[in-house]
Amino acid sequence: MALQHDQVVLRIVTKLLAPLIMVFGLYVQFHGDFGPGGGFQAGVIFASAVILYGLVFGLDAARAVIPPRTLRLLAPLGVLLYAGTGVLTLLLGENFLSYNAIDPAHPAKGQHYGILAVELGVGITVASVMMLLFFAFAGRGKVKA
């Protein structure tokens, strides 16, 4: 699966690009409330860094970066973070996902924090599911999923 050692250009470019892709993913994640972006896109971008790394350096190297076991914990965790934000607003006495309740004195701030938390949940789940899908397909027949 890993490329030959003489594929220097691919290896170097991947090493250079992967961290940049991840930073860009985080930017899209946390800038989603001001500009275009959000958890969904950010998750895909973030996962694409790991997938690229896996394509060039092999599945085992990518698995060493993020073990599928961890991903299988992270995927539901994101959903819980999303729903948990809604439950928090419920406990604060407002409707489900009414972010105003997070900071009643400044509803706009409450909306801001709420969106950030929810989008982070989306981002975590989307990124982990993307990577899990890649591992599942790329590792087909080799390891137990």
């Binding site: 299988r72 914990l73 995927a75 539901p76 965790l77 959903v79 819980l80 729903a83 948990g84 809604g86 439950v87 419920l90 407002e94 409707n95 489900f96 996902l97 009414s98 972010y99 105003n100």
Partner: protein
Amino acid sequence: MMQHAPALIVLIPMLLAPLVAMLRSPGAGWALFTAGAAGSFALSILVLEQVWSGGVVSYAMGGWVPPFGIEYRIDLANGLVLAVVSGIALLVAPFARASVAHEISEPRQYLFYACMLLCLCGLLGIAATGDAFNVFVFLEISSLSAYGLIAMGRSRRALLASFQYLVMGTVGGTFLLIGIGLLYAVTGTLNMADIAERLPATYDSRVTHAAVAFIFVGLSIKVALFPLHQWLPSAYAEAPSAVTAFMAATATKVAAYAMLRFADTVLGEALVFEQLPVGEIGVLLACVAMIAGSLVAIFQQDLKLLLAYSSLAQIGYIVLGIALGTADGASAGLLHVVAHAVVKCGLFVVAGVVIYRLGSERLDALNGLALRMPGVFAALVICGMGLVGVPATAGFVSKWALLQALIAEQAWVAAFTMLGSSLMAVIYIGVLIERAVFRAPDTSLSDTGITPLGAKLSLAALAVLTVLIGLWSDPIAQIANGAGAGLFEAGR
């Protein structure tokens, strides 16, 4: 806390599903599934009671007032459906424990319960929401988890069945989405009540007509109405027993509810039944489904397939009620949703117990059942009579209501078709009972000897419920009548 109940009914399974996936333990998964179903059921009953005494309950998601935000809107119709779906989940749970441990490999069992919770969440969401796009989202949640659940079946054929359902289900979901998109294009809103208010101005628009066609074809696939039923028999036959018992009683029923909601409330009877021939097409297809489903069921040699084809016929009854386009028809359809859910769930649990003890779902395995497992046999007889529609069972109540609705509309052909289909049900249920009573047990099948306690509980509860609804039908009939009237009122 009570004012949040409409959201919590859907939220409880949604929150528990990721928790089960993180805990990775079959025991915890089962416990949380049971607890979630029980919680949703208790809240559904409370909300239904609230709607009964105080009228429609509305809940604004995220505090955004409808029609701008997503609204959960519970009236008698979906209150009843919520109670049925969560109630069936609760009744299947005791049986699921042993059956899942028997049929699904240990490392996958926790995923099974996570998928069941997601499926439950999706089905409850379709029923609870008052937002047309939300219906599609929850439909996809329930369908995607259902594909996974069916694929966990015992043989490799389950994968093919699941893939077939995936292809058909995706087409159905996409059609529904296109239809809702077209509605959004002509009305500029997704809130169901709001669409209902604005749509009459566009009744002559081609776009609206196309939307009606897309929505009903899409939902017909999900309901498994003849001739779009191809996915159903193999999906029911190959899925794990607990999934079949749960899905046969809920998935198609919730889709039928969505059909009712779109026909009577969102799109309006004036468009669907008077201007366009949806009613005529529906009655025709329902009649064909009743006859064809029952006819094919008579010749099946596989217990789960037999019950699956019988489901196709029963779906015909429900669609017939919906397609009449009257309040009586709608309430008869809803009554049959309840009755068939209880009865068919009971029969599929019987099939599950036979598979658990004898390892076979061929009809031969039923030979001598009356001696081998008298309790299970009793449940088979009671639920079977419920399916046929013998008086003092649940099936009689709904079929009687449907017959009256048909007579009121003077739909004689449909009425006789329905009676004919019921007579055919006597034949295929009779075949089962004949085998169980008069034939010698098949000694080549080794009997494990024990019916799990949970399965006994599920069977007893479902059989008692079948009789109870039949004898004491007033409360449910009144709710269904109010629901039918309410559906039409909301559309005006």
